[in-house]
Assembly symmetry: C2
Homo-oligomer: 237 residues x 2
């Protein structure tokens, strides 16, 4: 794959662009201090994120109608609060904690490298995050997306094919000229299945010290990079 074979870069967001675990620990710690809670917020973050795929699955397989990710995050939070024995948060605190996903910090290389990449390529999110979540995150962090697309506009959660195909269609770019960028091999396999080119990014701190990555040796991807700076270098921008 050469740089001129690509028109658009589509990005997974949680874990790939932003640090969800660090953000939950940050805001959980502040909430815990306010309420005098003794909670391991890293474990809490992992438990909340652990409910992500089961909750998405209930929409993907048609057991329930479409709901935006904010709603699934809320349902997951209520379960995890109960599991950790945290009671006594009021509705405003719960609603605000759900929105921690709108306030996640980007990995340190992200904004500068995306700004470089934007000069030559169309940059779009291809996340399971809903549009408003992704817009709020971008405004706060300065992420320079050209378009916020993905699951909500497709009404299909990744890894359903329509999430990828609707995004490529709205960008008016053939899937083969879209480069899917993600820190998760499973996302890239699904994108590749729809004809996308693929780039794996190592985000070694995504799961804290408990590294948990899924890249096999015989991955067959187009690119594997350490961070977005290396991606920009490899694409010559």
């Amino acid at each position: 794959m050469t740089p001129d074979e690509i028109d658009a870069l589509t990005f997974d967001v949680f874990g790939t662009v932003v640090d969800w675990r660090g953000g939950i620990i940050r805001d959980g710690t502040a909430l815990g201090a306010k309420h005098g809670l003794a909670v391991d917020w890293g474990h809490f973050a992992d438990a909340w994120r652990g409910l992500y795929q089961p909750l998405l699955g209930s929409v993907r397989d048609g057991r329930r109608p479409w709901v935006p990710l904010d709603q699934l995050h809320r349902e997951g939070l209520l379960q995890v609060l109960a599991q950790f024995g945290i009671h006594g948060l009021d509705e405003a605190e719960i609603a605000d904690f759900v929105r921690v996903w709108h306030r996640l910090d980007p990995w340190p290389d992200a904004v500068a490298a995306l700004t470089r990449l934007k000069r030559r390529y169309v940059l779009a999110t291809l996340s399971n995050g809903n549009v408003r979540l992704t817009v709020n995150m971008a405004k706060r962090a300065g992420l320079p997306w050209d378009a916020v697309l993905g699951a909500e506009v497709a009404h299909a959660y990744k890894p359903m094919p329509e999430a990828y195909l609707a995004t490529a269609r709205l960008l008016d770019v053939p899937p083969g000229r879209c480069l899917m960028v993600a820190a998760h091999y499973s996302d890239l396999v699904a994108a590749c299945g729809q004809g996308f080119r693929t780039c794996y990014v190592w985000r070694r701190a995504e799961y804290g010290t408990g590294e948990k990555h899924d890249l096999p040796d015989d991955h067959g991807l187009d690119l594997v990079v350490e961070d977005f700076g290396e991606l920009a270098d490899r694409l010559g921008v």
Copy 2:
């Protein structure tokens, strides 16, 4: 309406943010010079734009399935070229001329005022232009949209209610907290019908010297402004 009653500003684009007539004249003149054509490009622009509503109508009323605006612009161009007796453009020239809609220049106040407005509000396009058209225009002109929404993501051309409602839903903002900004009264009437707040912008040069505006005296809109700078002033940003 006070500034804190609004969360998101949604914008019509053609005529409201960018000068479609001037852009067509600019690129038509260059094409005419290359081919030695004697064409009044202002009349040509008006004729091309004049086919816009009839072509949109064929999709709106279900006579044909959804097609993006780029396709309708192409069909309109082919009609207008024939009407003006212009033959001999090759396929690459026709495809490039269709994309003049991606290369329209913003009105002089637009970029600076949108940059001010973006600090406080979510800014989204609510245009009949397709996503890629609107993205290309924004990249070229530096229009700082938070999200590119509107007709294509709704699969409904304005003034169909779903164009407005889908945009508000994706922004997760109640229609009553969205301010629709347009230089066309009919667009604002349709937005108002879905509960949007409304702002009319005078774009006195939209139709060249042949001013053609539709704002009645008893308009009942929330705001009427001379340009986006006045809108930013009125909203206190």
